[in-house]
Symmetry: C2
DNA sequence: CTCCCATCAAGTACGGTGTACGTGAACTGG
DNA sequence: CCAGTTCACGTACACCGTACTTGATGGGAG
């Protein structure tokens, strides 16, 4: 797993940042031109400002002032590029301490940090939604969440169900709150949703229109918490009676 | 619906269309070469057999024995093509009668039909997940689900939360059960998941590995029902006391 | 009848994508 | 000095969606 690009481990790599004044007798070549973090930051910046469809090998390369193929020295193809962006987003989160207190609190805390983190990069949401069973940084979060859920006395199939419930809710809610077509690259989410709801026939979709409106007017975080609390209550009610601690 | 006239190879034959407009001056020049249903069926077949990434204007056109641009006479670009596939999938469902009995039963019935319908076309799942707030056939389902949920005594924000909970669960569960990278175009889902789980470090992701294994061994439909029941129980417990009927 | 031209099917071509391949420059250890 | 290795990156290919253009068709007007 850990076979990252261990190419730079030779020791001699002098980063090409604004280091010492004599920045080189030579033009660039043997030491890496960028750090992986630089690439990640550029990719995330690109995605945040110009949307997910603007993220391509070529645009990113242009952003960095280099050619497309150079990126393949930092990233394992398009797939790896997306992974890099997801990583960059999740690294920005500061995960809470969990594992000791009430599992409900931990579930809540974890979910909330995830929610807040993701929401600050709305364009990345589709990426996270479709890659959540693949990327390690997400699985890392999943593992913590599972640990908390396990303390409700679940394991095996029940744990699986509980996890799917929670993660499905988180991703679904996030996705629904700022879905692909409802948020435009420009970024005016609210008006876009409203506009979209307006085009719907209110006779055919009365309640869809109703909740679409409610969704725009309400505060999403409050709704997220409400849904999560409901979910946690359900999980607690269903938990194996003696299983407040691990049974 | 538009009735189709099948043309042989190479020629287009005139056909008096139903409702052939006496639009004054000109009559129709040529009948359509395919029916919309033919196109939809071909698109769905293509997606089912060769995966979502094989669905393109060009491949579909080739499948139909015509050129790419011809499709634009039947479908509004790539976007419309995806809509067509989603439509084709959801049209295959036979929706239950709802609206009269217990809302819990209706939620269950609707969710289950949706689940079963979608699962029979696993490659379309990502499409449905990301287009669920956009496509009318999906909104149609959403409207029915909302109607059922409303009978738990909710409206406005609470209804929104309940809906997000349920639909997030459905989509999340489906997506998780047969996600993009976990199911390969070839179609060997179970072994792929196992293989994936094997590559994970069990020290770092002990519980992820545990539920991944459980997920392969268990029957998904049972887990889906279990999660759904838990969710419904939570919704029922939280329902406004007097609100068994619409209040 | 002939001719016109509205209409729709379909081809060509353009600008995009991801990336295999190859070349060559810069460094390192012998 | 000379391999050998690592990296930058230009070129090229196969693919994508689709704007634009062409071409066939056949009803009405003359």
């Amino acid at each position: 797993m850990a076979e990252e690009s261990r190419t730079g481990a030779g020791g001699r790599l002098r980063e090409s940042e604004s280091g010492g004044g004599a920045r080189g007798r030579r033009a660039v070549a043997a030491p890496k031109k960028f750090s992986r973090e630089q690439v990640a930051a550029a990719a995330l910046r690109l995605t945040d400002t110009r949307g997910l469809e603007a993220l391509s090998m070529r645009t990113l390369a242009a952003e960095l002032g280099t050619g497309p193929m150079t990126l393949y020295n930092y990233v394992d193809g398009r797939e790896g590029l997306e992974l890099l962006v997801v990583e960059a987003v999740l690294e920005g989160a500061d995960w809470p301490e969990t594992g000791s207190g009430d599992w409900r609190d931990d579930v809540r805390k974890l979910a909330e940090v995830f929610w807040r983190t993701i929401r600050s990069h709305p364009h990345v949401i589709p990426l996270i939604a479709e890659r959540r069973t693949v990327d390690e940084p997400i699985l890392d979060f999943g593992e913590r969440m599972l640990e908390a859920l396990a303390r409700s006395g679940r394991s095996g199939r029940e744990l699986l169900v509980a996890f799917r419930l929670v993660s499905g809710f988180i991703v679904g809610f996030t996705q629904g709150a700022a879905g692909r077509a409802l948020i435009s690259p420009g970024g005016e989410s609210a008006s876009a949703v409203i506009a979209r709801a307006r085009t719907l026939d209110p006779e055919r979709f009365p309640r869809v229109v109703e909740i679409a409106t409610a969704s725009v007017e309400g505060d999403r975080t409050g709704e997220f918490r409400a849904g999560l609390d409901l979910l946690i209550a359900g999980l607690a009610a269903d938990a194996r009676p003696g299983g407040g601690r691990e049974g």
